[in-house]
Symmetry: C2
Subunit: 566 residues, 2 copies
């Protein structure tokens, strides 16, 4: 147990090499050079499978760029065409499983391990493959958490990414949908990995350079442009009057109450309703300039009327939204844009913004229990988390104050002592949910399906999306429960039952306790907020159809075809 | 309160412009073109002041790159030479105030508002200027929080950054000290801002491109290379035997106990001692490969012996460390490096890694109260937080499991019910502190100076660096207090008193309660861990001098002159 006497480096020099990664990289590149007819970094798309055979090795950690919107779909298809005798047991580390090919890889024996964030449309099939033992899930992450692990213990050896265009040197233009690309490429390129980009076109001169050529090894012009999903487009025609009512409560009972200036909205009709009420209902309450000035969110078409009415100072985005290109270009005061006029998005920075620079996160869920824990994982589906855990958690590293954050923190700590009572602010985390979801399934349950799912899939913890401990408000059509003000498990339970409507858990409330909570302002009904539910009509929406949104944009917004019925 | 009837965009088109930012940018560039003889983007250093006069406007938000290490010192000096009649009331938004010039700006009436993270060497002068009313502090942030706000409500209008070199087009090479640069430049360049880089040299061809030219407006070759502080170099000769003892306790009582594989170490001799004990004491405990495999930290010279002994699989860094260049180049399996062989650091991603992908943060503090709250803010000094709050807070958005995280979470939740009792993991946050600091000031205090500082400076909350609520262990020379196991304010208080040694708070312990906590394993003394303090000698250190470190590196590590005494 003594200090090292001789020079370990000198000893190591004869026995240890410290450039395995670099040599492995050279070997991959050498194989590629043999098997593929590249011109510089440009590889013909017919050679994609050969290129992947050349660079990939069994057991590699691979990031196949699957974003919320943009998909490296050509490379995904190429990957499914590999010979599982040559390439197998890949460990996929990618944020979103959106395409069937993402799961085909596992079914076909090419990949076996998975670390990811979100699987939206593939959630049911993912659950099947997991129970069939064809996928071993490492963990389900929130986006920024997965990116963080790219720099620690899940660094990709090969990254297969998507960009808008490339020049012949290999510089990339991601265009408006930058999304995960910078995080993936940086982790891979600076750890001896290989970066392969599919692009829609190879051009002489890029509108702007988003990724320097030195970070990219191969570029393939795909035969068809990469797929982009218009995930954040919500047709105002489908917003219900219940959603209008809930949006009124959110604006008056939470946004105005706390003076929320900086926030994130998730996907959904609930939050689209809020966005569409700002220039009407919000304006009538005199809230313009007092709430909702800075946003971390994608360019939601439903925000157009609020932007036009001057409510919005800035928007930073995770990704873009199809059809919003010209509108964004014409509203560069509001959006982050490049010299070419198109959006600069960046999921890593926008998630950091959602975590640390927003006072409020509002989102929906599928199930909530009486502790306020909520999950979108239901039986037979492993849906994943996306950004919700990162933005819907109290950011305990935050130190800058804002009125909203201070007020929430003070409410949560009133009467507490010691460490828990030490003054600090708190993030507002609102779960907005109708008491019954589709097919009359109650949103409030005794026990989350997540528990059973954890048992079935052998997870260490149930896949809870937002923990009750982090939720500040539960908002249903029956009212708002302010959990910050609850001082015991029992109060919290009754506060949640008190807004759970006609669900069995709602009916099981202790009426007296609930009335008591209402007297204390822990529960607030529409009437307590001065809201007459009869006023909650669709007439309040600043746009009632896609056409209204287009009109509000002065024709700049061009919705994808499937959203046009005119 | 009706829906918008006419097209707001059409109406707005005649009254509102949406490209103020772009037009303001053009105006700045036009003024620069008039006043400065630029060749392309390259501006002679003699024109620096003229350039700043041209592009800056009163009230601008300005990021003057001040990092932990790298400083845009030439631009800082140029900024102090501006005419306060022309440029005043700047709002500085920068992570570190390291140089006297950073404060001269305020004294000279050029800047008036400040949002920052860390002020290390300038802390005392900062406090003076604040009380003299010459600086209005918006807030003290943790790094990632400040970067997050760059994309929301603190977006710089002008960024003055530092890079190693540039080519004539304006592409930048940051070299090993990338640090904050990518976050600053991205926020500024994509919001109509102006980016000015000082570089050590303008060259024909860069070793690699870190920042594309399209993101940079002006490049100035500074007359002298930018300043870099070797902040993370600790001479092993100065490590005391008490620090060796504490390091033994950390390794055996915490790292081994929880199986900590991924972690961050802060600056200091305490953690340097741990690093130097891994290949000796850690090896003797059979811990190699079981702890400390993945790191988020700068290239600490004190880690060299552990790296050479094969303990370390990967290190991702916030910035680099002077003298470590050749060593890093020769150990590319361990460090993130570019095609040029030099380090790729990135403070934003490394902070994300520290927050979300590490199981343990260990750091020191100056004061701790009986709730476990700690602060480096002492009377007359506003030191700031740096990365500690981000890494030393429970990352409540984290969802992936590891044994260390699960065990800490289970300990913290045992016996709790409802929302607080719902199973989840928890970050290990260790405060390692000798009971007395310099000048026999007790580290344990009834009331943090932070409270008085908050009153004096009109802060909304006391500048607490790490909240007691987030601390899992307090480690002193007297033992380890595991706060996760405490179930009441009283237990927590006695656990802290129980390791507070001969400080007044330590002497004020309830002996019986402390012995009870010791029986329960809440407090563990060296003897309880099977550690004989007599074994804690400097002989255990894998390197006992700078020379030993150089030798351990096989001569690759070249310490800065001030650390050489041979």
């Amino acid at each position: 147990m003594n200090a090292v006497a001789t020079s370990p480096a000198a000893a190591a020099a004869t026995t240890t090499a410290w450039d395995h990664k670099a040599r492995r990289r050279q070997a991959r590149l050498a194989r590629a050079a043999e098997e593929v007819a590249a011109r510089g970094k440009c590889v013909p798309h017919a050679d994609a499978v050969a290129l992947l055979h050349a660079v990939l090795e069994p057991g590699d950690r691979v990031c196949l760029e699957g974003n919320n919107q943009k998909q490296a779909d050509f490379l995904a298809r190429a990957l499914t065409q590999l010979d599982p005798q040559r390439v197998h047991d890949l460990h996929m580390v990618q944020s979103v499983l959106a395409l069937p090919e993402h799961l085909d890889l596992f079914e076909d024996g090419i990949a076996s391990r998975l670390d990811f964030s979100f699987s939206g449309p593939q959630g049911a099939r993912l659950a099947q493959l997991v129970s069939a033992g064809q996928i071993r899930i490492g963990a389900i992450h929130t986006y920024l958490e997965l990116f963080a692990r790219y720099f620690v213990d899940l660094t990709p050896q090969v990254a297969l990414i998507a960009a808008q265009s490339a020049d012949r040197e290999g510089n990339l233009y991601t265009g408006p949908n930058t999304e995960d690309t910078p995080a993936i490429v940086e982790a891979t390129a600076f750890s001896g990995g290989i970066v392969i980009a599919q692009v829609n076109q190879i051009v002489d001169r890029l509108p702007r350079i988003d990724v320097p050529a030195g970070w990219v090894d191969f570029v393939i012009e795909a035969p068809t442009p990469h797929f982009i999903e218009p995930l954040f487009t919500r047709d105002p025609a489908q917003i219900s009057e219940i959603q209008v009512l809930m949006a009124m409560m959110a604006i008056k009972g939470i946004y105005a109450e706390y003076g929320v200036q900086r926030l994130n909205h998730g996907i959904g009709f609930d939050t689209a309703a809020i966005e569409l009420l700002l220039p009407t209902y919000g304006e009538s309450l005199g809230l313009k300039g007092k709430i909702c000035r800075h946003w971390a969110l994608n360019p939601h078409p439903a925000l157009i009327p609020a932007i036009e009415a001057g409510w919005v100072e800035s928007i930073h985005s995770f990704g873009s939204e199809l059809g919003m290109e010209d509108y964004i270009r014409a509203r560069s005061d509001v959006f982050f844009t490049g010299a070419d006029g198109s959006l600069r998005s960046n999921r890593a920075f926008c998630q950091a913004a959602g975590h640390y620079a927003c006072d409020l996160f509002i989102g929906s869920t599928l199930q909530m229990d009486l502790a306020g824990n909520s999950s979108t994982a239901t039986l037979g589906r492993i849906a994943g988390f996306g950004g919700a855990p990162n933005m819907g958690a109290d950011a305990r590293g935050r130190r800058h104050a804002s009125p909203a954050w201070l007020k929430a923190g003070a409410q949560a700590r009133e009467g507490l002592t010691g460490a828990r009572g030490t003054p600090r602010g708190q993030k507002l985390v609102v779960q907005m949910v109708e008491t019954f979801r589709e097919h009359m399934q109650p949103a409030f349950v005794e026990r989350l399906d997540a528990w059973q799912l954890a048992e079935q899939a052998g997870m260490a913890l149930p896949p809870i999306m937002i923990y009750g401990d982090d939720v500040s408000h539960v908002l249903t059509e029956e009212g708002i429960a302010n959990l910050l003000l609850c001082r015991s498990d029992e109060e919290r339970e009754q506060a949640i039952r008190g807004v759970a409507g006609y669900t069995p858990l709602g009916l099981g409330r202790d009426r007296r306790a609930v009335e008591n909570l209402r007297d204390r302002g822990v529960i607030r009904r529409p009437a307590d907020l001065g809201i007459d539910p009869r006023d909650a009509t669709r007439n309040l929406l600043a746009a009632r159809s896609m056409r209204d949104l287009v009109r509000a944009s002065g024709g700049l917004y061009q919705p994808p075809k499937r959203f046009r019925n005119w």
